[in-house]
Every structure is written in C-alpha cells, then in structure tokens.
Symmetry: D2
Subunit: 326 residues, 4 copies
C-alpha cells in the first residue's frame, strides 16, 4: 500500500475534534472520577447528564457523560469552520450513502449527525456556547490539570478503509504502521488541528472506541495523577504507563473510568501544520513504536474497548498481532 495521501482541498473544513459522548452507569461515580480525580470542570449538570470542559477550553463541553444502562461510547463530535461546511458535509456524507440527520444538541448550533465508513457515530457542528476563559484561574487546577481534549482512538476492522475515508475529508496521516505481508495498514494517526492526531485507527474488532485523550502541561502532572489515583482507591484503574510512545513521541498514561472507558493522559507530541509533513512509517515488529522505553502494554490494552451505541463491531481484516511479551 502506498503512503496514505491526504486530500489537501477537502470538500468541507473540519477544524478539530471537539467532544465525546460517553454513556455511563453511575453519574456520581463518573463525577468523582472525571471531576474530583482528573480535574475536569463541570459546565452543566442535569439528572441524566453532566457536561465537562478542560481548563483552557472556551467551548461548553469536551465530554458529555450520559446516564444509561450499559457503558457505551455515544458519538464523536467535530467542529467545522463555518455553517456552509455543515451543508457541504451533509452533501458529502449523503453522496456516500451514509445516513445524515440534523439534530438538536444543547449548547450547540444546528448539528449534523452521521457516521463514518465503519459506522462510527459522528456529530458535526459549527458553533458551541462559548464560556469565559478560566485558564488563569489557577485555583481550579486539580488532578492532572487537563488543558484540552486532544484526540480519539478507535479500533477499525479495516484501517485502510478508515484512513482512506478520513484522508478524503482532509485528515492527514502523521505516523502509521503497515503489515509487512499484506501491505495493509495496521494503524494510522490522522489530524486536522496541527498535532499528531485528532483521530487514530488501530486494526481490531470494530468499530469500537479505544480511548479519548486529554492534553496536560507536562509529565509531572501525570506523575501527580498516578500518586493521587494510587492512594484514593483508583489503583486498579491505572492500566498502562507512564511511558513515552515511539509513535507520536508523546508522554502518556492510560487509565480506565468507573465504566471501563479508557482515557489517555497525553503531552509532548509535536506540531504538524505543514501540509507537506512526511508521515513516519513504523515497523510492526518494532516494539519501541508502542513504548519507546521498551515496556510492553498489558493484554487489556490491546483487546478491550468501548462499543459505540447501536453499532455492531465486525472482525478485523488482519489477524490479531501477537502481543510482545514482557
């Protein structure tokens, strides 16, 4: 397979990933995790949902926690540049035979609900309620000091197909792994906003959400979170890390929320705004692509993910990669 090629003149302009809806089974437990432990800020709280933002965000929400019977990922939210982009997006998705629907979402202007080529539920909007800046109210900084939502990561049963779809709508691959034998993509990281990714895909039964990530200021904030979680009853929720990814070069930590949704805490990746930035190819057999320092990820990290609400996952095209043993 050739190097993935982005469409530098996409049919509509997605600015960045914006937010995620997570279905959770106990709002109080989720609040204790996301607010009291991670340090996200409540911007609206109802009986059945909580809206949260991170500390440098001025949009109303980057996570919507919705009460439900079963843990699920809801939709992935993206912000477009102007209202015309929404209409162009509707036309694009419709022409692909993908479902489109205009939905009402609190705190957002008109919102287009659709899905990607693998069925991942997507919601696109142009304007969200803007809130006053709080990034210099340092008394609010707690937990891991989350600054902004950074990216989504999904299992895809056909990464080539996923990447081709997102390339077409302007996402640019920054790093990727290829299966040596089949020459198919094993995993790829694609962005719009100028970091290593807004959304990444890994081969696996899917579509499923692997994780959503938050940007923090520096590794010390991640060490602080580890100390806090380890001594407040969350030691079992620490899944992997801290470490540095080979891919993306980010310093990372993976934790699980009370429903098992996986959250990455992330810092230190690099700027990717150049349209001619060359994607970095990694060898699937190189364990340093996952952890530069060599420590393997646990089995759960490779296998577990959140189902998308109403979406049945399919078996992946490529067989599961053997997990590198410790």
């Amino acid at each position: 397979m050739p190097v993935p090629v982005p469409n530098l003149y996409p049919p509509f302009n997605i600015v960045r990933l914006s937010h995620i809806e997570l279905v959770v089974t106990d709002l109080a437990k989720s609040r204790a995790f996301y607010v009291d432990t991670l340090g996200l800020q409540v911007t609206h709280e109802g009986n059945r949902e909580i809206h949260l933002r991170a500390l440098e965000e001025r949009g109303h929400h980057c996570i919507v926690l919705c009460l439900g019977d079963t843990p699920r990922a809801g939709h992935l939210g993206f912000k477009v540049y102007d209202e015309g982009d929404l209409d162009r997006a509707e036309a694009f998705f419709g022409a692909k035979g993908l479902p489109t629907e205009w939905v009402e979402r609190p705190f957002q202007s008109r919102t287009l609900r659709t899905c990607d080529v693998q069925g991942v539920p997507l919601e696109l909007y142009c304007r969200m309620e803007r809130l006053p800046p709080i990034h210099q109210q340092y008394a609010l900084y707690k937990g891991v000091k989350p600054l902004r939502i950074d990216h989504f990561n999904c299992f895809s049963p056909d990464v080539d197909e996923s990447v081709a779809f997102y390339n077409e709508i302007g996402f640019r691959v920054t790093e990727y792994t290829e299966d040596d034998v089949s020459k198919r993509l094993w995993a790829a990281w694609t962005h719009r906003k100028g970091g290593v990714h807004d959304i990444a895909f890994t081969n696996g039964r899917g579509p499923r959400l692997h994780h959503v990530a938050f940007w923090v200021p520096h590794p010390i904030a991640i060490i602080d979170l580890l100390d806090l979680m380890a001594t407040t009853g969350y030691v079992g929720n620490i899944e992997r890390g801290p470490g540095r990814h080979g891919i993306s070069n980010a310093f990372f930590l993976y934790v699980r929320d009370p429903d098992g949704h996986r959250i990455e805490i992330y810092c230190s990746d690099y700027q990717t705004v150049d349209p001619d930035l060359e994607p970095i190819k990694w060898d699937l057999k190189d364990p340093q692509r996952q952890t530069l320092w060599g420590a393997p990820a646990p089995r759960s990290w490779f296998e577990e993910g959140s189902l998308f609400d109403g979406v049945t996952p399919k078996a992946p095209i490529l067989e599961a990669q053997p997990i590198v043993a410790p």
Copy 2:
C-alpha cells in the same frame, strides 16, 4: 477601536511563521550561543552563514545567521500552503503598492520578497528542503532543548495599522491591549498556526524586531538553560525571567545573543484553532498582563530592539508607556 476582526477568508494562505534571518558580527560567537548553549542544530554551515533548525522541525532552517558588519534583523520568513498562494500573495502585496520580488534562497523553492505595511521585510515560500526527523534522537538534546520556532515580536509605530494589515491576510488576534484614552491598540498578538501568535506587535519606535521565540517542552528546560548560561559566561545575557506572562499565559525567559538580538524561550501557551476564539483584552494599567507574578521587566526590555536591515524606524503614534517600577 472595536475588537480586531480577522479575515476568515484571506486572499492567500499563510501556514505559519517559518524562519528568521539575523545579521551577526561574529559567526563563532553566534555559533557558541545558538548551538552550544541554546541547543539548535546546524543544518548547513558556510563561511558567511549558518543555517539552524530546532529539534522537531523537518524544514531545513528556522534561523539563518549571516555574517555582517552591523547587527540587524534580515527578513521574517513565512510558509504558504501551496504555490498558488505565492502568486496570490504577489498580487495582494502589489495591489497594496508594496514592493515584490522573486528571490533565490538556498534550500527553498521560489521565494517572494516583500514587506508589510510598516516596512518589515518578509519572505514567503511554499517548499523548503525537508530533513529526516531527529526529534527522537535524544542524544542531540542539549541546552534548552528547543523544539520549534514559535513566533516573532516587533515594535510597530502604529499597531492599529499593523494589526489591520495582518488581519486582512488572515492573522487572528488572540490577545490585545488598548490605550484607554486614545482607544488605539497598544499591543496585539496574532496567529495563523493555532498558538497564541505567529507575530505580535507592540507600540514603539519601529519597525524593529523585539524578539524571536522558540518553543521548549517545559519550564524545567528553561531552568536548565538559566543554570547553564549563568555558569558559562552568559549571565549578562539573561535579560528577563523566568516568569509567566499574563498575556499568552506562557512561561518565558528572555536572553540576548552576542549581538544583542533578543531571543525568547517559551512554553505553555494554548491552542487557538477555533475561528470564533474570542480575543482577550487586557488593561494597559494591569501589570499582571506582562508578568502574572508581578515582577516588572527591566527598562532594556521595553526600549531595545533590532533594526531591520535597510529600514529606518519611525516614532510611535502613542507615547511611551511609563515603565512600572519594581
């Protein structure tokens, strides 16, 4: 004056600031400063010039040091999205009555030389020689571990005029200060690439270069540079900091190179990709806009800057702001 309004559909697409040319009087001294002390990487070295890049950059250069008789700032370099943008830029600058010229620059494709409304020399190009990634060659990390060029800051004799010009070509103001009496802009920070600024302007005799800034990973890298400079003969080159700016929220340090050119070391500002990001207005009388922690800047920081080669500065429209006393 109303809040500065960016042109969301500019006549051509500047991706980001790219590089600066600095005229220096002793290449060996400059090399000792930029390479051995700050930690920039040499990508080309001739008898009369040195090209440097920072550690996560793949373009050939972010600084060109040119030997000359008198310390001067040469031109400010910007990267455009595609070749058509260069032609559209030529037409735009020409229509403004500003000089345009196609120049040859080593390691760059065709380059448009022009200037802004105050006479600041600008050079625009689309493609620069790309180099292999070195951001994971950690043995190269020295000094302050500079990751990328971040922004330019210039004295302008008429900040309103400068900002209106850059607004027209798509730069968006993120933060600004207004003179209470005249309602004229005192200073403004404008960006293209999604950070707080690619270029900022402060009222003062100009145009002159106030500083060029480099992005580093975290405040500890800045503390390391202070320790290094303080004990290797550069203590007199430390001008201001470390501190946190109110404006931009960045953790900063200002140092002077052997010719007096001012370099900012910078980290921790915030993402600004939303086209509807509201500019933050600061009160000119609020000393925390300069240093959130209250410490005043020294007089030199307010008064000194590098002349642009061949450009005669003019007196500013607004009288000099009284320096806040310690």
Copy 3:
C-alpha cells in the same frame, strides 16, 4: 577572620531545627495563607493558635501561629537527640550566663527555653507528639506541597559572634561571605541535619527573623504556587523569585504572609553530612552569590524582617551593603 570551625564534639546534640512560633494578628487570614494557599496541614486548632505540619513530617508541628496584637516572631524550636542533651544544654546556656527556663508546651515533652548570644529566643525539646504518616495521602497535597521545614534565617548585628556561638554547639558552616575590608563575616549558613543550613545569619539590624523556609519537591511546585498566588489575591505577597541562589544552589521563592512574615519556598540544595565538608566562601561583590542568574533582590528583601517578641534589635557592626542595582 579564619574559616569558621565547627565543634565536632559539641556539649549537647541538636538533631535539627524543629518549628517556629509566629505571632499573627488575624488567624483566619493566616489560615487562608498557610493552609489553603501554601498547603500546610492543620494538626490542632484553638481559639488563639493553630498548629501546622508539612506533608512528610510526623512530629506534631513545624509552625505554631499564635494570635497577638502585633506581628512578631516567637521562638525558634530545635529537637535534641535525647533527654540528657536537654540537661547538658541547660548547663551550657547557664554557664554562658544566658537565661534558662523549663516551660510547658502542648504536644512536647519538657522544653528548655533560653536564647542565643544575640538574644534570639530558643526552645529545645526531645520528644514531640508523633502523628501517623500522611506523605502518601496524595489527596492532601495542595498549594506548594510543602514537605518539611528546612531552615531559619536571621539578621544578626554581629555575624561573627553568632556563628562562633552556633559553631560551639555543633553547627557547621557550609557557605559564607566575608567583608573584604574588615575580614568580618557578612553572612553564614550553618547546619546540623545534613543540608546547607538549619539556621543562617546575615549582617543587619538584629536579631530579627529574616525568614523561615519550607522544602518542596521540585521547581514545578514553586511555579504552581506562583500561579496560584498571582490569581487568588496574593500577587502583592510575592517578594522575590523564582530563582536559584548561588549560595546553597537552591531554587527559591520568597513570599510574605498576611502579617509580613517572610516565608521561603526552597528545594534542590545538597547533602552536607561529611564532617570534613569544606565551607564555600563567596565574594561579597559577586552578585551571583545571591541570584546565580543575576536578577537582583528587591530592597525590602534586604531591609525588612520580623522582630522577635520582647527583643530589641541592635545596629549591625558592619554598615549596610550597597544593594546591587538592577
């Protein structure tokens, strides 16, 4: 004057500095500062006093805040090795003609009240109520994350006399500054516990308390405190820093409490347990001894200090050092 020589076989064994009593005029304001802002832990709270400890301490208190009409330093507390040391101390101070008295102090075993050669009130004890460890209850870490009391610093009108006295009781000088002309000590740092100092002395009208210092884990904690104080109404309480001292090599910050008592936040000095550790001599004309990075201290830092309760300060033997201008 020769290099100060410690008595390696002192008449009694002081283990370390232990605590300070500060007279404050508004307990609520002091609590907001020491507990809510700095992050010290309340261990006892009465109508007229609050006892505090830092996060790794198991002794009951490192600060006792006492309500009073006028801000004053009370006494400096030291812990001795065993009960016999208290009796030997009583004999020693008595033989010097210094007042001694056995006093009752809550949470302490029998306590010897006396004073040093300049009249600084001292209290020595052997056993203090021990509390359970909290250093791994990371949910308690707030503010600057103070780990332990580190040292006292006092103005002395005769530093030679002060140092000779503390040398005699086993304090060892680690660094010092001498006046070139008179060959008298300008300032000296002396320790018992194996860091750069338990108590230091600077020439000046005295005795007065210059500051009491707390040890924190790393410079990031100090940056966090600056951000917090700057945005919660305490920007005027930030006096000096952050910076690195030449003397002691510590990364420091000086803040003032609501009554003007000076608190140093301190990390990164070095181990001094070797009995043959050579004191480091600094030139009084070297501004880097104060701030390695060159920034001068403000005038208040040189001139202001807390009076000791009931002690009238005397003029210093050496004339005031000219303050190094910015």
Copy 4:
C-alpha cells in the same frame, strides 16, 4: 518478630555509605554507560580502573570500576566520623570473629577491610581526597544528572540477622516487610545519613548485590535518561520503571550496566534524622509496597543480582515470594 530497634549509641560512628567497587569486563563499555550515558564524572582513569564521582560530591569517588574477568561486586565503602571510629570498628568486628585488615586504597586514608555477618565485603575509612565543588558547573550536567550516591541494596539469606547486625552498629530501620507466617523480616531499609536508607536487605539467595542507587534532582531527569537510553542502544538495559515505590516513596528507575550490574536512579524520598522516627511496616501481600501505582516488577528484578567477589551465596531462609503477576 518485634519492630527492629536501632542502637542509638553505637560502638562507632558511620556517617554514610560512600562508594562501591564494581568489577567489570570492558572498561570502554562501562565508561560509555556510566560517564556518557548516566553522566558521572571521571576523577581518575587508569588502565585497569576508573574512579567516578557524582555532581555534588566532593569526595574523590563513589564508584570504582575495576577491570576483571567476571562481573562482580567488590566491596561496599562507608565513611566514618573520625579516625578513632576506625579503631573502634576494628575492635567491634574482631570481637564478632569477623576478619579485619588494614588496606591501602588510592585517594583514601587508612582503610579497614572487613565483612558483615553475611560476608558482604565492607571497607571503612575516615578521609578521602577532597575535590573542588563542581555542582555549579552546569555545563557538566549530562545524562540523568546524578547528584550523589544514595544507597546499596543487597539480597540477604537471613534478613533478620543482617538487620540485627546493622542495627547494632547504629543503622536505623525506616521501613520493613514481615512474613506473616514466620514473623521473620522479608525486607528492611536502614540508614545512617538521614534518608530512607544507606543499605537495604531483601530475602533471597545471598549475599548478593541487588543494586546501587544514585540520587537525581527530579523525575524529569529520569524521563530524560529513559529517552536517551531508548535511542542510543540501551533500550534492553532498561529493566523496571519509571514508577514510585510504596516503600520509601521514591520515584525510581532501574537500569542494568553492560555487565548486568543493576543501578537505581532515585529521587523524592524523605528526611529521617529524628532518632524516634517510627519504622513503617508494609504487608507482604500489598503490591503497592513495591510500586505504588500497581505495575509489577519483571521477574529478573526479583531474581538477578551481582555476586560479591569471593563470596559464595547461600539459600535464603524464607522461600521465594510468589511474584505478583501483571
């Protein structure tokens, strides 16, 4: 078994651990590791040995690398308070029936060679050649910026016996683990210099050296070392971490030198100078005692260690603890 009780009035005064002799099989490879990678400073270099010191040390050496045919730990070095302590030590060890010998060691005054109750070779001295301070020559700081040697850790076949011996000569236990069934000590940390340990013992075939540790300024230095080792051919030498120990509360990393000797990089433990400091007891079944954050250590970490030159290890009294599975 009761809580281990130190002898507060030991027969002679050991100030601190001082240095270690390591037999290595390739001096060039060892130099590349200890000097170019870890950042230790060469103080003497011969054909068959290299002496190293860390950055804040003024004694001549903390490691002596000696060329030999087989990787071995040589002796553990300790510094005593005065020359009389050496004579008192000779009498003490002799009375125990342990071998004593006066040996000549370069850069040290007369040196007493002996061994502990398990046969660990020990060398005690009072004075070592003192070198000028380099802790403020920041251009020398490389690698992990090692500041000082911190502690030794040994496998002991009978931890109760080892601890009783070191208690008798004044080492105080700070933390320990007990086997629930036999009530024997599983592991214990003992100190002289006021940190969590100068030497620790873990149940296992022994005596063998588990590791020697170096103190670094903050966790960022450890992250820097990981990045450096991972990209300069040493990824296979990273054994465990980074993480926080429950016991000692230290932030740690374990790496292996080219001969397999284990080196710990260590920061953030706490001050222990109080003679009445209560030892902390940990449950052998609590995995957080090893890693507060829950990640298990690899099998090699539990099983492998360096033999002491000329000492045959014995089987441990307690059976091997089941390794906690990932």
